[in-house]
């Protein structure tokens, strides 16, 4: 499954870029993200994602690895994890491309992910719909966080 979004932000790229590396602020921005910690600066992180998808609630510990960084404009990370109790696994690759626009910056988010197990049984359209909602919420929260 894949989602691509161009997120318009009112802050300049110089202000957005450090926010993307600020663990506490990213926890605020990513819906359902809790308990994020830095394991190796700018390389490895751990986080827990909780989501209610339909009747199923998952709580997934994620290992996050930054696989590519072009300082100031591009970031690629891979995350994967599994909720053993609900027998659901997820793996995701996210690419973020940051660039200037007339008033602020443009952040292109390109996410490709796989969901396996119980939650996947709900079907692709339901998960896709939820993921699109999460990306929209992330965009709104990021804009708010940058405004503070």
């Amino acid at each position: 499954m894949r989602i691509t979004r161009d997120i318009a932000l009112s802050a300049s790229p110089a202000n957005v870029w450090p926010t993307l590396w600020d663990v506490a602020r990213m926890v605020e921005c990513v819906p359902g993200c809790v308990d994020a910690t830095e394991i190796e600066p700018r390389r490895r992180y751990a986080a827990r994602m909780t989501q209610q998808v339909g009747p199923i609630r998952v709580s997934i510990p994620l290992d996050i690895e930054v696989t590519e960084e072009k300082p100031g404009w591009c970031l690629v990370l891979k995350a994967k994890g599994r909720d053993a109790l609900v027998a659901t696994g997820v793996s995701v690759t996210v690419r973020l491309d940051l660039g200037p626009r007339e008033a602020g910056s443009s952040l292109r988010l390109d996410a490709e992910w796989r969901v396996l197990g119980q939650v996947a049984a709900l079907g692709h359209p339901i998960i896709q719909r939820r993921a699109e909602g999460m990306v929209d919420e992330f965009a709104a929260r990021l804009e708010r966080a940058l405004g503070r």
Partner: protein
């Protein structure tokens, strides 16, 4: 499939007691009415509540109350009970007739109306049917109660506006005005319908013109929805002018309909199916409005 994880079973006898239990469990419990969907999730261990709150012993939740204005169905009323209730059969024949075709006899015997609406399966028959009766649900929590229309309740597949501390206590259907006619159509190759359409036509005093209409389509998208475009196209139309326009009305009403891919088919197929089913359901309802027998028989299609 495995055995469910261990859980406590709570059996309150009043709604207040149940709401208080739900609040105290803070999201760690699940409500248990018919259990037809819940037990599958438990056995798959897709959910892991610390307790189940059994609603079946609560006074009043198993009642059906038919008045001149409304039909109020308690949350733990089973589909079978609703189908067989004499008041419903006599005063609300479309409801009794349509509910008779929900799932299969085992599900109808155990599954409840409240559970069906709270689970928000996009392929729910009652959700589509009840919206044609401008239905609303009563949600009760420890700190108060509120009423939502069915359109406000379900906002996505399997997701509703019901808060974790709220109990769906009853659904209330509004009686159609004198002289109204209706139809319910469901198409499906499997137990869960692929498309459902409910139509209500409210006629003027001469019974020759449609004064107002409710047209609902379900199962093809994330939730059942009113087709306001079709309702506006039908309202004010003399019955004689309506029949030749049904194709055009159904096409316009479903052109921008949100449909969703699932095991039943692709979005474009669902939209086309919705168009055809809306036209057929309107044809049945308009024939009934003219006092005629509708000549609509189609494979895999149930018309009530």
């Amino acid at each position: 499939m495995t055995l469910p994880r261990p859980f406590e079973l709570e059996r309150p006898t009043t709604l207040d007691e149940a709401a208080d239990l739900l609040r105290r469990m803070d999201g760690e419990s699940a409500l248990y009415a018919g259990g037809t969907e819940l037990l599958i999730l438990l056995k798959h261990r897709a959910i892991r509540p610390r307790s189940l709150i059994d609603l079946k012993r609560i006074d009043g939740l198993g009642d059906i109350r038919a008045t001149d204005e409304r039909l109020v169905i308690g949350a733990t009323v089973t589909h079978r009970t609703l189908e067989r209730a004499p008041d419903v059969g006599a005063g609300w024949p479309l409801v009794a007739g349509a509910i008779r075709h929900v799932a299969n006899i085992r599900v109808r015997n155990a599954g409840t109306v409240g559970g069906n609406l709270a689970f928000a399966d996009p392929h729910s028959d009652p959700a589509t049917l009840f919206m044609a009766f401008d239905a609303s649900v009563r949600l009760v929590a420890a700190d108060g109660a509120r009423t939502l229309s069915l359109g406000e309740l379900a906002h996505a597949p399997y997701e509703t506006a019901r808060r974790p501390d709220e109990i769906l206590a009853a659904v209330s259907l509004q009686r159609w005005p004198e002289g109204a006619v209706g139809a319910y159509l469901k198409f499906g190759l499997y137990e869960r319908p692929t498309a459902t359409v409910a139509v209500a036509l409210f006629l003027d005093g001469t019974r020759s013109t449609v004064r107002d209409a409710r047209i609902v389509v379900g199962s093809v998208g994330p939730r059942a929805v009113r087709l306001h475009v079709a309702e506006r196209a039908v309202a004010g139309e003399p019955l004689g002018r309506l029949a030749p326009r049904l194709d055009e009305i159904a096409a316009a009403a479903t052109r921008d309909l949100e449909t969703m891919r699932d095991l039943h088919g692709a979005p474009d197929y669902k939209r086309e199916l919705a168009r055809v089913c809306v036209r057929r359901a309107l044809a049945v309802a308009t024939a009934r409005a003219r006092g005629e027998q509708a000549d609509e028989r189609h494979p895999h299609t149930i018309i009530v």
